[in-house]
Symmetry: C2
């Protein structure tokens, strides 16, 4: 099956973008026997490599976003089988961690929001359990004494997005997908149909179908008729990768999310001692500067949540740009230009949506239509 | 005069350490006609490359440290001629900035400490001017509204320690000093006299006199009789190099030091848009981890001082180890081992003390004795 390195004259599918969404689409397409090419080159700030990796539709639930959360819960429930299959095909770990999530509240207002969240979870059919402050501290002894109460979601887990990307790349290549390390200058369009892409190197890659999965860069790709790709605004996120001193017990043993005087903050622990502290949400255009204010807010709120983080090393500082469509929902499947698909606009949910998006895109590429559960997110809805 | 690159069999002086103190000693020795070799290799965390570069004996003054501050004021007063000569000999800038320092206070306790500081400055003969909160904000409009009062020291300035190191290295080389990029394993001692050093490469460098200026590493150098070099404890400092967005006016136009609820913090601006925010003082042994707690305190106190720093980019995070003798004063000149000198233990004052230390060490190397103004800091006082 491996045709890696073979100079194809044409592909069945060319996927533009080598983040999680591009890679999962390519892997699933290749599994279905499509000759697949991925074009991408580690960008300075790919959202996938910055993301914390929370798989938390229940604690992420917001009023007005119910359909998004249903899709998230569906994707979350596919994760165990997804990572099992991926680890098997790639031979690489994904650091999937089924340890649940604790959402906590600090003051009376935070507690009121927690109650609303609990009601929404019930309405969406997502299992959760309300806890007192004392019960929260029993689960996570390093929590601040000021914690007023919480919600435990036993089914909201986490994964390491960097490990996931590496495994997806290997799995896709093992299924025969070709990876080209370049950027796409333009989609090739002739006779009102997408027919491939032209790279920055000048090389052309012909394909029957083109999938754009290039995050915030997606609308910048040339050659496209106006209105086919909606605007995607970048939503800046700053986060810190902290590290436990060697030999110390973990500071938290599951994902802990807090609402600290209205301001959301989270800690995502990994087995190797890394603890991700995130994340800001800023509408600043293409600005990818790490700022004093962003880092200060994270450390301030993280310290309120778990005072002991002061002792942790700051191993890495990260800035990413989440791609958000005007309605904050993903753009999936066929566009109005025949042969052109989108898999973009995953905003804050790219890691969570990876399994469901991969399945939906493979379906769209082989049948021409999105499956029912993904139809709400059809790329054509905004054009 | 240039003998750079010439393979000497022996030197008059070998200086161990290529931080500011080692380089200034070598430059001054070479100026006096001594054949000088500097041995050093950019360590992971040289104190000189981390330091902010404040030349602020008046605002640094503390009870019980009067002799240190007199030495500091003497060294500060030599700075204008020192940088003029150095820039002339090296052809390189030092970013010396004669823009004064503003020391401010937040709450009633901070204000009481400021009054004490003012009295101490008067007693030491250091010029300063007491200001109201409003007068402080007139000098620095970005200061927090909560500022209660301040002291303006027109003669406390700043320099860029990295530029200073580069200029000193060039000037020393132009005066014929040889720079060997290696570390010293041991001092060569025979017949109760230091006679050179042996490098990690195995090479031996013979010299009539050896100067140890290796910061916190100084006591680790092998081959020395017990008690000749006192213990030097590392005092960890974390700081941030912030950067103004291009085209924005500077956030402060002089060094601003604050006492924020008892906690000291400072901002040192440079002409190129860099603003150094520092610094923690932690007794943690050789620990050079950047920590969540250290960065959080800097950003919290910096934000109290000048709220607008939130908008600045964090261009670099730094951790250094200041070398401190048991009595917190420098160790200069001849030791009890003939031929062996120290220029170490400059603690928080290495940049400030650079001109005076260079002069004192050149005197010790040529006459065998420290000048009067440096005699208090004789390396033999603790052995």
């Amino acid at each position: 099956m491996t045709v890696r390195g073979h100079p194809w004259s044409t592909s069945d599918v060319v996927v533009v973008g080598d983040g999680l969404i591009g890679l999962v689409t390519a892997w699933r397409a290749a599994q279905r026997g499509l000759r697949t090419t991925i074009v991408g080159r580690s960008r300075p700030f790919p959202a996938s490599g910055v993301a914390a990796g929370m798989l938390t539709p229940a604690t992420e639930a917001m009023f007005g976003e119910e359909p998004l959360m249903r899709f998230g819960a569906l994707s979350r429930d596919r994760y165990p089988a997804f990572v099992a299959e991926l680890e098997d095909e790639s031979g690489q770990p994904t650091a999937y961690r089924a340890s649940g999530t604790l959402q906590i509240a600090f003051d009376t207002d935070d507690l009121a929001k927690l109650t609303e969240l609990g009601e929404l979870q019930t309405r969406l059919g997502l299992k959760s359990e309300r806890l007192t402050g004392r019960e929260c501290r029993r689960l996570e002894p390093m929590l601040a004494p000021a914690v007023r109460g919480g919600i435990h979601v036993a089914d909201d887990h986490s994964v390491d997005p960097r490990a996931l990307m590496a495994a997806l790349r290997t799995a896709a290549e093992r299924r025969g997908a070709r990876v080209v390390a370049d950027r796409v200058r333009a989609v090739l369009v002739s006779a009102d149909r997408a027919r491939g892409v032209v790279l920055e190197s000048g090389e052309e890659v012909s394909a029957d179908q083109v999938v754009l999965a290039a995050g915030t860069h997606t609308p910048d790709i040339g050659g496209l008729p106006e209105g086919v790709v909606p605007a995607l605004r970048p939503v800046k996120g700053q986060l810190l990768r902290l590290r436990m001193p060697p030999g110390e017990p973990p500071i938290v043993s599951r994902t802990v999310r807090g609402l600290v005087k209205g301001s959301p903050v989270y800690l995502v622990p990994r087995a190797d001692g890394e603890v991700v502290l995130g994340a800001t949400q800023e509408e600043m255009g293409d600005d990818t500067r790490l700022t004093a204010g962003g880092v200060w807010e994270l450390l301030r709120d993280g310290h309120e949540l778990v005072p002991g983080i002061s002792e942790l090393e700051i191993a890495e500082t990260c800035v990413g740009l989440r791609p958000a469509a005007p309605d904050n929902e993903p753009l999936l499947g066929p566009t109005r230009l025949p042969g052109l698909h989108l898999a973009a606009g995953h905003f804050r949910h790219g890691v969570l949506f990876t399994p469901a998006t991969g399945d939906a895109m493979a379906e769209a590429l082989t049948t021409g239509e999105l499956p029912d559960y993904a139809r709400r997110f059809a790329a054509t809805r905004l054009s």
